[in-house]
């Protein structure tokens, strides 16, 4: 072994099937410069540098080392990158090394080696599971100010990012016949079989390479080495037009009806901000094959959380894949044969294996025999009773498995390879409702083919394949995978009756049965059980599960929540089954009755940015723009979102406040002429022999009696009686009406019209067309409005007689075909002009030009609102809030008495709707001329049964009226219209109440002389 500085290199002189020794890469860990090779993971590169200590645990801040070689890693989480590329809690075991990678360890202060928080480890006897429920109770204020902040600081793992994400993300939707998740030999074999049926197949693998574990485990298929077989099979798959394959793509969530989320990482291995960092695939699969493999379980022995204790398979992976020796002398501790492969691998690499401690009384399978033949010491019936060493394994204390932990031997070692057996990675199977069954022999939960997740048609939408089914031998693995592929293809009606290709024949060594050993040693005393870790990240030990069970937290969900077992970032991938086994033992019920907690998506954590996809910044939500949007933007518009529309709230001139701009716009309009972009108003054409009848149902007032050429203001209520929209309706001809809706209401009201026509009155002959976007609409309002229009359209007679108030006409203005409505929301002489949207901007420009000599002033929504309030016109959303009926607003005149029925009529007959004490619309005038606060309530005498102050009214709209030079308001007041002249007190938060008189809501031009001019 070469020495590099003070660090001993653990890189083996040869080997490492995934690394390229010709391509060294520089990276840093906690500021220390290091080098690894292309093909390394961050974990393998760190291990190669002898960096055993990589982090601290969550609760006790205990030293932590790499345990696994995959996405189930609970310990080796680092902060990666910096600034806009910083990401916390990144698994070193799945992070591909790249030049310049910067990683920092987490959850310690001041440093990884010397962490103050580790004091909690010494106090751990005072901090059993759930300790926080039993203490911190007094003094009460201390929880918020002392205890909680302290707990929060010591909890949490990585640092939160500070900067805006420098990367972007995207989504991709695809429909496929068969989706195969997992690119090991099972997935490849299943994909081949499915492809042979003629199905479209998508095969995905989370790692950057194909083949999974088989090449490491020495599997042979059809006489070839697994690697060779994988290579040639992939090649033939690639040549098929119906197969697509993708690496670095994890299957993260199975949802109902074959909806699957895949998380593809495009640039994590080679950062590049110019292309998307991740791609979230939303797959609609006819059938899903889960070839997700199996996850090795740790063994629960005292001291098993010491850095240097690793899964046996991971130890093997580091040697074979990366040419890295996790230890010089590795003790194997196991309850099954698979770990012997690790011993043999280490031996072959020239590394020390001082002992194989096998908890079984007998170890006579072919692998054990091979180990003995290789000269290794196998010690059946033995386990580990403690690990000596501070921040890493130094010595292993051996005990007899069936004893209470007496030390029978002590072995110098720097690594422990542990194996508690394998659990199928059945998470995806469960996401959408698939059930598991317990297999006693293999001691694991596996997908129950009789209770699969089902799709839209009610039948199985998923097949498990390979080790994910619980099959642990190459032969059985390939057989199940092939069968799953065929079944998936056939379930979709592909390749039925066709002859299917041969099942690849797999060979590996037979196994001696594993033995479900859940605790080492079997009769470990409390002190030892309190040192036997189940969940390495959350610091949950055997004793914690026992305590929970004793205290009555018997349901598996209770145990999980009480102890936090399985709630760490690996979501229990390592700890789940071991914990269940301890619980089952404690409760004295079989493990299958204990059950599992619910597996929830995602299988591996998914970046939030990837979920948000492209919808960020300007693309966060659609912005709807009118044809005149650019003009507003160039002319000082202060924008207001109205639904997805943007409307100018006011146009500010330089140095002018928004408030001043609004006042200027109001006064200019009232005294001269104003210009409003009203294009956002909804425009719905309703036509047909039954259109009149239909509109009479929709509006509270009568639309059937409206004459062609005329307009009428109408109200719409929900079937529940409440006012939902208002607008002007124009009758275009005998059987055609044009209904204007509020800006936010167009789509809603259009949908509602279609709903009634399609689902209730489907025999009525009426068609609706939403022509909102076909037209730009411009309001010209003010005493000089007609003058402006006359400039542009001398041919149009817009005089009082030809076009009286509430009439409309077609014509041309400035050579643009228009429809002119004489309607007014400002109370002024006002025209609304609709033109084809493509000419909307031209019309605006011409009106603006023509109006210049009259001082024409564009005005925004706020001036519009002020002017309508001065006129006492209600505004949907201000005077209404979903609880207000038209009767409350004094709109009786717009509610037809002559109609048998309209939407909302029956509802308005209910007891509470007819209550004379309902709050009704009035005007409010402050005695001192000030502006009432928005939403203020008028208090009444006394309190109600719940001690709340009684109220008798509230402000619905309140403005400073530039026209009147004082505050004006509208409000809803109990019996309001009967109380004209009364003075109410409106309460003000932290201030003196404001006194206001109840008056008519019409403050300006009550006779309507101006709008009728």
């Amino acid at each position: 072994m070469a020495l590099e500085g003070r660090i001993v290199s653990r890189r083996l002189p040869k080997g490492g099937r995934l690394i390229d020794r010709s391509r060294p890469l520089g990276f840093s860990f906690n500021g220390k410069e290091m080098r690894g090779y292309a093909g390394d993971t961050l974990a393998s590169a760190l291990l190669a540098k002898g960096q055993v200590l990589v982090g601290r645990s969550f609760k006790y801040h205990r030293p932590r080392g790499v345990v696994t070689s995959g996405s189930e890693e609970p310990n080796a989480l680092v902060g990666l990158g910096r600034d806009g590329s910083f990401e916390p809690n990144v698994r070193a075991t799945t992070t591909e090394l790249f030049e310049g990678l910067e990683a920092r360890s987490q959850n310690h202060w001041p440093s990884l080696e010397y962490d103050v928080g580790a004091i909690s480890s010494m106090l751990s006897r005072f901090l059993p599971s759930g300790f926080y429920y039993k203490t911190f109770l007094w003094p009460r204020a201390f929880w918020k100010h002392v205890y909680e902040p302290a707990i929060r600081l010591s909890a949490g793992l990585g640092r939160p990012p500070r900067r805006r994400d420098a990367d972007h993300y995207e989504h991709f939707n695809v429909t496929v016949d068969v989706l195969v998740i997992g690119g090991g030999i099972s997935g490849i074999s299943a994909a081949s079989a499915a492809a042979e049926t003629g199905a479209d197949v998508l095969l995905v693998e989370q790692a950057s390479t194909w083949g999974g574990r088989a090449p490491i485990d020495g599997v042979r298929i059809d006489g070839l080495g697994a690697e060779e077989w994988t290579g040639s099979t992939l090649k033939s798959l690639q040549s098929l037009p119906n197969v697509r394959m993708r690496t670095r793509t994890s299957g993260v969530g199975i949802h109902d009806h074959g909806y699957v989320l895949l998380h593809e990482r495009l640039t994590d291995h080679a950062p590049d901000h110019s292309v998307p960092r991740h791609r979230l695939w939303k797959v609609r699969a006819g059938q899903i094959v889960a070839a997700t493999g199996a996850i090795e379980r740790p063994l629960s022995f005292p001291g098993n959380d010491r850095p240097g204790c690793m899964l046996a398979s991971a130890v093997r992976d580091y040697v074979v894949n990366y040419g890295v020796a996790p230890g010089e002398r590795t003790v194997i501790v196991t309850n099954n044969d698979d770990a012997y492969r690790t011993a043999l691998t280490l031996r072959e690499a020239g590394l020390g294996v001082p002992a194989i401690l096998d908890a079984r009384q007998e170890a006579t399978g072919p692998l054990a025999t091979a180990a003995r033949d290789a000269g290794l010491t196998v010690r059946p019936g033995c386990g580990i009773v403690d690990i000596v060493g501070r921040d890493r394994v130094e010595r292993v204390q051996v005990c007899s498995q069936d004893g209470d932990g007496e030390v029978i031997d002590e072995i110098h070692a720097d690594c422990v390879a542990m194996s508690g057996g394998w659990s199928p990675a059945a998470h995806l199977w469960c996401h959408a409702g698939g059930k598991l069954s317990w297999n006693d022999e293999a001691a694991h939960f596996a997908p129950d083919p009789a209770r699969p997740p089902t799709g839209a048609d009610g039948v199985a939408m998923m097949q498990a394949a390979g080790s994910a089914t619980g099959a642990m031998h190459a032969g059985a693995v390939l057989e199940s995978a092939h069968a799953a592929g065929v079944a998936a293809g056939q379930a979709l009606g592909n390749g039925r009756g066709r002859k299917h290709g041969r099942v690849p024949e797999g060979e590996d060594e037979a196994h001696h049965p594993m033995e479900p050993v859940w605790l080492v040693p079997a009769r470990a005393p409390y002190a030892k059980r309190a040192k036997s870790w189940l969940d390495f990240q959350n610091d949950v030990k055997v004793s914690d599960i026992e305590l929970a069970a004793r205290e009555g937290y018997e349901s598996v969900e209770h145990v999980k929540r009480y102890t936090t077992l399985g709630m760490a970032t690996d979501q229990g991938k390592l700890s789940n089954i071991n914990g269940l086994a301890i619980l089952s033992r404690e409760l004295g019920v079989p493990i299958e009755e204990v059950g599992t907690t619910t597996f929830r998506p995602p299988y591996v954590p998914v970046t939030m940015g990837a979920i948000a996809g492209e919808a960020r910044g300007e693309l966060f939500q659609p912005v709807r723009k009118t044809p005149i949007h650019e003009w507003h933007d160039a002319n000082g518009a202060h924008w207001e979102p109205v639904g997805h529309w943007r409307r100018p709230y006011a146009y500010t001139r330089h140095g002018e406040s928004v408030h001043d701009a609004v006042a200027r716009e109001v006064l200019a309009t009232r005294s001269g002429v104003g210009l409003l972009d009203a294009s956002t108003l909804g425009k719905l054409v309703v036509k047909g022999p039954d259109a009149a009848r239909f509109l009479d149902m929709l509006y509270t007032n009568m639309m059937s009696t409206l004459k062609p050429g005329k307009c009428r203001y109408g109200l719409m209520c929900s079937e529940n009686g409440f006012l939902i929209d208002d607008g002007v309706v124009a009758r275009l001809d005998d059987d055609t009406w044009l209904c204007h809706t509020t800006s936010g209401g167009a789509d809603r009201i259009h949908a509602s019209m279609e709903e009634w026509l399609q689902t209730e009155w489907w025999d009525w002959k009426a068609y609706v067309a939403n022509v909102t976007e076909q037209f730009a609409q411009i309001g010209v309002a003010g005493p000089r409005a007609r003058d402006v229009l006359n400039e542009l359209g001398p041919s149009m007679d817009l005089g009082k007689e030809a076009l009286p108030f509430m009439a409309w006409t077609d014509g041309a203005l400035g050579n643009i075909p228009v429809r002119v409505f004489r309607i007014s929301f400002s109370g002024e002489l006002s025209f609304e002009i609709a033109a084809p949207a493509g000419q909307g901007r031209a019309l605006w420009d011409r009106l603006f030009e023509a109006g210049k000599s009259f001082g024409i002033t564009p005005y925004g929504t706020e001036a519009l609102h002020v002017m309508r309030a001065e006129k006492g016109f209600i505004m949907i959303g201000d005077e209404t809030d979903g609880t207000v009926i038209p009767q409350d607003l004094g709109l009786h005149w717009a509610i037809s008495k002559g109609k048998d029925d309209f939407l909302g009529k029956r509802a308005q007959e209910r007891e509470h709707m007819a209550d004379p004490l309902r709050w009704r619309l009035v005007g409010l005038e402050t005695l001192d001329g000030s502006v009432l606060p928005d939403g203020a309530y008028a208090a009444d005498e006394g309190v109600n049964a719940n001690g709340q102050r009684r109220t008798q009214g509230r402000v619905t709209s309140t403005y400073h009226s530039p026209t009147l030079g004082r505050g004006i308001a509208m409000g809803l007041v109990e019996r309001g219209p009967d109380r004209m002249g009364e003075i109410l007190e409106f309460s003000v938060i932290d201030g003196e109440p404001i006194r206001a008189r109840i008056v008519s809501p019409v403050f300006h031009d009550p006779e309507g002389e101006k709008q009728n001019a």
């Binding site: 109902d256 949908a751 029956r906």
Partner: protein, 109 residues
Amino acid sequence: MLILTCPYCGVRCDETELAPGGEAHLKRFGPGSSDEEFEDYLFMRANPNGVHFERWRHVYGCGKWFHAARNTVTLEVYGTYSAQVHAPPQEIRDAVSNRVPGWHWKDES
């Protein structure tokens, strides 16, 4: 994430192309109905653990409302059909009965 086939345009719709619309086959009660009838119509809803008839609108498509027979526990879809009917058609009832032995439409005994 449901898939429902729009019976009008034949498109297998992603759930995000659709808008749900609650219980199907409600009978409207207007003026002249009792308080109880009106309350029932507006608020009382079948909320079964199992077979449910419901309304959907193909809002990001042809814009049409349609009905679906769906299981609220397994999410199995027995079929989709026209919105212009007062009760599920026979073939939909048969499709449900085939999958849910013993089930019958509420008007049948």
